[in-house]
Amino acid sequence: MDAPPEQLTLDLDGWEGPLDLLLSLARAQKVDLREISILALVEQYLRYVERARVLQLELAADYLVMAAWLAYLKSALLLPRDPQVEPDPEELALRLQLRLERLDAMREAGARLMARDRLGRDVFARGAPEGLRTVRTGPYEANLYDLIAAYGRISARSRPVMHVVQDREVMTLEAAIARVSALVGSAIDWRAIETFLPDMASAGLRRSALASSFLAALELARQGRVELWQEEAFAPLYLRAPAA
């Protein structure tokens, strides 16, 4: 039996992917899917894709992937069977047939489902039901903890809010510039930036002083009043007075 592929319009939007197209081609053969010749089907698919290419229709990638796979399957089916070759082409063909049968079964099932007496289309529920109501009655429950926690919540909420920002010891940029420029003086040796920091300081103040001193060093370097040297990123930073 020879189903002319010319009957198929080349409407790519009509199919949902290669498997859908294969199933449509198979159905056009009008035989039980279990009896279908996979080889004939493969040839139809390849002819279809070839035609689409001749007409310069853009084919989605998955159609081409399927075409390549089917071309491989076709050659494997036509060549004398080599038992060493895995997977067995007969097996591949059978798997393809099983997939087509399953998709076909679901398509059929979907059509039968849609044809049933559907609520709101073929049969109708009562248009204006009175409705059923469930009225809840019964004792209320709350415990003492809920009660006092609620009061705590309200008290906390209604208490006047005052935000206090604690004083932090900081070194200002101005102070750092004064300190670094004074200390660097006319030193000709490289000195690490840490040696410019005040000794006493708390950890917080040292961090502030380091940040300010670094900015001070950059500023002084820009003004040509200090030279900077660092071997690599994150390496110690050295300062000295510019060579006269």
Binding site: F124, A125, R126, G127, A128, E130, G131, L132, R133, T134, V135, R136, T137, G138, P139, Y140, E141, A142, N143, L144, D146, L147, I148, A149, A150, Y151, G152, R153, I154, S155, A156, R157, S158, R159, P160, V161, M162, H163, V164
Partner: protein
Amino acid sequence: MTDPQTLRAVEAVLFAAAEPLTPDSIRAHVGELDVRGALAALVGHYEGRGIRLVERGGRWHFETAPDLAHLLRRDREEVRRLSRAGIETLAIIAYHEPVTRAEIEAIRGVQTAKGTLDVLMEAGWVRPAGRREVPGRPLMFATTPEFLSHFALKSRRDLPGIEDLRAAGLLDPVDLAFEQLAVEKTDEDD
């Protein structure tokens, strides 16, 4: 004798209709049939059943039999929890009684829905307690003996005070952590 097919058609149209129908609008669906005859036959058919066909101002509809109306409403016995607004309002009344609705709202910082006080009174925990002798004479609310027994309190003096609440950490919920600083500051100033 009305043809059974007419009866079926009229019955289905009335059942599916979203509103009561006049005989003319029924005819628009079923065609030129004996609609009035069918309506009369259906009224007879549903006599004494759980539903009945009735006419109201020339329009027809099915409704459930009036003596069965109580079945459509089911009372379910269950323990109900107070809403957050409910428990807060109850707490304010318990700590500040007698207190007016305006005072409750001032303390909570939000309006109190009418239903909230109703629920507390329905629960039997709150009662009206006279009127405040100020302009408008607003109603005051107080707790009841049932309130004390439900919460296993001998008297209102058993309610933990502000200092107890603070000690228990109930004055500084997590989302108010910032206020912690303010509270400590205030204590120091004392």
